[in-house]
Symmetry: C2
């Protein structure tokens, strides 16, 4: 299948290209970006006219819990621990495989409709999540959440290894990482076993880290350390690690973290909602840490709209530092695209519109009374574009949404199924 | 004209009614809400089926600069003073009456499309703004901005008084307040003249107040006071005053402010964008100050979507106080509706869906993959509804938008005109 996108205003996020280029044609052949030129006249199966449209890489969500779509707005008024223990965990115990599949479909549709093409998941019943991802056609990095809390810690590791082997080389869109729930739900003998698995399969580690004060206190007590950063150095030395949240960190700890091979997944909306605080992202950038963006699950993050996350990311740092010059818009765009790809170790294949990479891209329409006029394109995207401005979403060379229509998906039916799940388990 | 809204899920914001009621009929007769009952069968001119829809009061924006739509995304990287002096003021000098009219149309359309039915404006060329408001049909409280900076301070007062007299009793949707730009752009002899006008016509005062550190420092130096709050007590004693921003205030100053007849217009997005900081809204609520919401102009606030403002308002306080129990969603809904009406001294006629009040209301569709399932309705509206979920907007008994269509308005034409204005003056 050959698709030709004509006459695009291109934000490629490719560091070798201009940041913004007008009137560019993009040729997609099967799953890959074949050519990016001023004028392409190849014979193709489909032409998409992108005149007056923005074409940019699909966004990359580096921290989510995909099936938590059904828990939207269950958290208001709870802190993290109470919400999990009193509200979420009892409901999760009642979820069936079919529930996980349907709740995952809801999230994946939401992603496609708001311009996200790759998501990093951490949950359970992983095969049902993968089944939904393949049905929708998005790019998924997933895991079986590992923790030693409870009696099934060893079983979880076995389950994850089985999954890695079963899906190896079956679908380039499905990849794995080693998702460790957190230091506070693991222990000194369990973590090394997880690390061993990561080394054996050369996979990134994904872990909740310093999300709130209580977690940090629990880590300090449980591991007898002065700082959680010591655990990164002790267990993950040299490993590729995605740290979700990273809110409660002193400047000195950020400096130490920056020496390791870590990637921060900043989830500002969830962090505010749960009263965790605001991560020191500007300080992390000063220390050359690669910051990426996540929504967290909808239970705490409300939605999967990474355009909203970009806006919060930029505004919060300007506000708390009382400095409007913080967080240039283009840097925030990097966090939502190429930096996310780096975190998931997928930057060879996605995260920018580059010849030879996989075709993961979105087309935005900003010709609307809510977004006119456009005085500065990168600021416009960060501060005034919403997921609903995305008209077309392409993943792995497949058009998943065109003019906001998802083909072969009955959205209403999935909404109904998801509503009935939450009615049953709440 | 009689309009009957059938079978609504009603959030009336009327303190006497239940907070949420299902299957309610609402009868609108001419500009007023005539009846709210379980089942109304009157013969009417038009029936709107609101089955599975939310009906709630139109939102009230208590601080904006209506024609600044054309300055969207001009501020990134500037602080407030540099942005005004180097960027905005030179462009504003080039604006014609027709520019103001067209730029105002763009803002008013944006309001209608994102569910705001009343806006409090502070700008100049006021008659062109009024002309646009009447054309769209929204509720406008406006002024001619007063300041003694420059040589035309006295002329501005005369102009405003003339406007008040000219429009008196002409259109219930157009009201005035006395918009004083700020203490730092006025002086000790000018402010009392503005107050005199407010007293003469019994109108509220609207003023920028403690927006950033520099303003507060300028006030302290210019008026030789220890706190800007002293000026409220000195000049505005007993007056009804809308204080826009109110960011830079110590706890003790908030306590003192609470003793006056003041209403705070909280503009969180603009305050973050300009690096001003985060207003202490939770502290103000503790002191029983009536907090209302504003977007500020799109130059600093990016858009006029008060649903977004509600979300920032709630999340920021939870985040900075590290307390997820702060800011219950229903309190935030009050800020965007009935509190706004109180601030504009319009709570007798709008701000809630109440028999006898004017029919200013919106109808939301939440049956969408991006908002399903709805576990908690008030949280859903504050945290996960966007202006684009508004399907129908009614102001003063007139349907301004139905199923997202504005009748008799050529949106594309207005977008083009506004784009050409900014191209000309930038």
């Amino acid at each position: 299948m050959k698709i030709l996108i004509k006459n695009a205003n291109l934000i490629s996020m490719d560091s070798i290209r201009e940041k913004f280029e007008e009137k560019i044609d993009i040729l997609i052949e099967d799953e890959k970006i074949k050519k990016i030129e001023r004028e392409i006249n190849d014979r193709v199966d489909k032409v998409i006219d992108a005149t007056n449209r923005i074409v940019m890489p699909g966004l990359i969500n580096t921290h989510a819990h995909v099936p938590m779509s059904i828990f939207r707005e269950t958290v208001d008024g709870y802190n993290l621990q109470d919400w999990l223990e009193k509200k979420i965990w009892p409901m999760e115990d009642k979820l069936t495989n079919e529930d996980i599949y349907n709740a995952s479909l809801l999230s994946f549709i939401e992603m496609v409709k708001t311009g996200t093409t790759t998501i990093n998941d951490m949950y359970f019943m992983t095969e049902d999540i993968i089944k939904a991802a393949k049905e929708i056609g998005i790019r998924l990095q997933t895991t079986r959440t590992l923790m030693s809390l409870g009696n099934d810690g060893e079983d979880r590791i076995i389950e994850l290894e089985d999954l890695i082997n079963k899906y190896k080389n079956t679908d380039e869109r499905i990849t794995f990482n080693i998702g460790i729930h957190g230091f506070y739900t693991s222990n000194d003998s369990y973590i090394p076993k997880c690390v061993e698995l990561a080394k054996k399969y050369e996979l990134p580690i994904h872990i909740h880290f310093c999300e709130n004060d209580k977690e940090v206190q629990d880590i300090k007590n449980g591991y007898n350390v002065k700082s959680p950063v010591e655990l990164i150095k002790k267990y993950f030395k040299g490993m590729h690690v995605i740290l979700a949240h990273s809110v409660v960190l002193e400047d000195e700890e950020i400096k130490e973290l920056a020496k390791e091979n870590i990637y921060v997944s900043h989830c500002p909306v969830s962090n505010l909602k749960l009263g965790c605080g605001i991560a020191k992202i500007s300080k992390m950038l000063d220390n050359e840490i690669t910051v990426t963006l996540g929504t967290d699950g909808q239970g705490s993050g409300s939605n999967l709209d990474l355009f909203e996350t970009m806006k919060y990311t930029a505004l919060l740092q300007k506000g708390i530092l009382r400095d409007s010059k913080q967080m240039p818009a283009y840097e925030v765009l990097k966090m939502a695209t190429i930096n996310g790809a780096k975190a998931l170790n997928l930057d060879d294949v996605t995260g920018s519109i580059t010849e030879g990479k996989l075709a993961d891209l979105i087309i935005l329409n900003l010709n609307d009374v809510l977004t006119m006029p456009t005085n500065q394109i990168f600021s416009q995207i960060v501060y005034n574009v919403k997921g609903t401005n995305v008209k077309t979403t392409i993943v792995h060379g497949n058009i998943l949404m065109e003019n906001r229509n998802l083909k072969n998906i009955n959205e209403e039916d999935i909404c109904k199924k998801c509503s009935s799940i939450i009615e049953r388990i709440k």
